[in-house]
């Protein structure tokens, strides 16, 4: 079996409010799949259907080849889940909660919990209630990874983590990927999934609007570039560069948008003395905008 997650025409309505409007999703064995979309697009709804916390209004979903409800406890044993909103009772120490959750899974080695906790600088003895949001999120990561499942379903796993811990998480995800485990993770930050995902699905208004290999997406993504030269430059010195648009020059500062390979721009810049160079990572909205500008037109029609 190569499809770890598959949904066909999956819909979910909460009364009249839309959750999902016909989602077709396919996650292959061994891949890391980034599930991207703005808030309210239906990411958490999808994930909660996959974990059998809510039932779809229509369509089908299978996880590891089984319907979430029919698969029941045997299916959930094989899945590591990280909820979008990790809420647990604050009165217990982290170690107590993790031991308990391990028992629910049929036992997890204490050494594995300790090793993961150490990796994330998580003190297992401290009461959860006294931990910061970021530190609680570490517990969420540890509980999802401690039992080494075949499939991870992670809802915004790095939310609240500081950049160092985000990096640790990405390392952990990379290791799981190397070990052949499949990761399905949602995010609203492209740069985060870019670093670890093979493919990215973009969700908008309850539908998957595109599935792209991360490489392709990166190639197409728009970056804002700002260059400060040692001396003022003339705009026409950058006349026609491939993949560069919206060039503006103000004294010794040049701003432009880069949509593909950086090489031609870099070569052109190199003719002058460059003091500073800033490349802003593309944000998701911008990727949407460029990517679906055409589609907006057809939507309206």
């Amino acid at each position: 079996m190569t499809e770890m997650i598959r949904t066909v025409g999956l819909t979910k309505y909460y009364g009249r409010r839309r959750g999902l409007a016909g989602l077709d999703l396919e996650v292959r064995q061994g891949e890391t799949y980034g599930f991207l979309g703005p808030n309210g697009a239906g990411k958490t709804t999808t994930i909660r259907i996959l974990m059998d916390l809510i039932r779809p209004t229509g369509g089908q979903a299978t996880v590891l080849g089984e319907a979430p409800r029919a698969g029941g406890t045997a299916l959930r044993r094989r899945v590591g889940y990280l909820p979008g909103d990790f809420v647990v009772s604050g009165g217990q120490p982290a170690g107590e909660l993790l031991t308990y959750l391990g028992h629910l899974r049929g036992g997890v080695e204490a050494g594995r919990i300790r090793a993961l906790a150490e990796r994330f600088d998580l003190d297992l003895k401290v009461r959860i209630g006294s931990l910061s949001k970021g530190n609680r999120q570490k517990i969420a990561v540890v509980q999802a990874f401690m039992h080494e499942p075949e499939l991870f379903v992670l809802d915004e796993p790095t939310i609240g983590l500081d950049p160092i811990m985000q990096q640790r998480f990405l390392e952990l995800a990379a290791e799981a990927h190397k070990a052949g485990q499949t990761i399905f993770m949602s995010s609203h930050v492209l740069s985060e999934v870019q670093q670890c995902a093979d493919r990215v699905g973009i969700l908008r208004d309850g539908k998957l609007v595109a599935v792209e290999a991360v490489e392709d997406l990166r190639r197409r993504a728009v970056r804002r570039v700002e260059v400060r030269f040692d001396a003022p430059v003339r705009k026409d010195a950058f006349g026609k560069l491939p993949d560069v648009g919206d060039i503006e020059v103000e004294g010794n500062v040049l701003r432009c948008r880069l949509t593909g390979r950086a090489d031609p721009l870099v070569k052109a810049l190199a003719r002058f003395g460059v003091a500073t160079l800033t490349v802003e990572e593309p944000d998701l909205e911008e990727v949407f905008f460029v990517y679906y500008r055409g589609e907006e037109g057809t939507d309206a029609a």
Binding site: P83, V87, E96, T99, Y100
Partner: protein, 264 residues
């Protein structure tokens, strides 16, 4: 204590269970120890001047005998009130409360079925009820000499406490089942309050009102004290009705819980 939902639930509630036990026992002992003050000719005379309707409403018709006093005050009003509030709190938090504060997702995403979570939480509720009422029973036994209520006898005191436990289990099951079915504590609290108030006054006043006799026959309080466990010992048939109704409520709640969406 961290091996199952059942033990973890009890472990997490250890402090609040201790508080419920202390509260219940404290109130029970306090009121039981007032008995020597009620057992006087002056008090009897005062009670005789009360209107009969009021005496009926409070269940005070035999309040000067030890069993009558304990059955009407301690075990008739205050302890049931505490045990019912505890039942609403414990039963309501088991599923509905966990769901409302967003904790249920994580548990249910683990390899444990909804039925299993519900039944293990139910078992924890039953154990809690038996625990706090056992504490009350032991405390009443301990003070029965000085409080001049020892004519009730240890076996009947235990029966009274056990009946109280089953009253708590009935209301706990109502709270648990309704919470599992709806996921909302407000509904649980409302239902428990309505059943408790209608049941209480239905049991005491129903027979005095034309056409409302049936209210007593279906009141949980009728099965709790109608057989006068403090005089006649354990009433297995009454306990079976309370327990059986509780089982049905939990099963009904479980059927709905298994089908519905868990709220975020």
């Amino acid at each position: 204590m961290l091996r199952s939902v059942f033990t973890k639930t009890l472990w997490d509630q250890r402090r609040s269970l201790l508080a419920w036990a202390v509260g219940l026992t404290g109130i029970g002992v306090l009121y039981a120890s007032f008995y020597p003050m009620v057992n006087t000719p002056e008090m009897r005379a005062a009670l005789e001047s009360y209107p009969q309707a009021m005496i009926d409403a409070m269940g005070f018709d035999d309040v000067t005998s030890p069993a009558g006093y304990l059955g009407a005050t301690t075990l008739g009003m205050l302890c049931p009130a505490i045990i019912i509030i505890m039942a609403a709190a414990v039963g309501g938090s088991a599923i509905a409360g966990e769901e409302e504060n967003g904790r249920l997702d994580l548990t249910l995403a683990h390899p444990v079925s909804r039925w299993s979570v519900l039944l293990q939480r139910c078992a924890a509720m039953v154990v809690s009820m038996l625990g706090v009422t056992a504490a009350l029973g032991l405390a009443l036994l301990a003070i029965s000499g000085p409080a001049q209520i020892d004519s009730i006898g240890p076996a009947n005191l235990v029966a009274g406490a056990l009946h109280l436990a089953l009253l708590g289990i009935f209301f706990g099951s109502l709270a648990l089942g309704l919470g599992a079915a709806t996921g909302r504590r407000s509904i649980v609290y409302l239902a428990v309050a309505v059943v408790a108030i209608v049941g209480y006054f239905g049991n005491n006043l129903g027979p005095t009102i034309e056409g409302l006799h049936w209210l007593r026959d279906i009141s949980p309080f009728h099965f709790y004290q109608g057989g006068e466990p403090l005089r006649n010992g354990i009433q297995p048939a009454d306990l079976a009705v309370l327990a059986g109704t509780g089982v049905l409520l939990v099963i009904a709640g479980g059927l709905a819980f298994d089908r519905r969406d868990v709220a975020v």
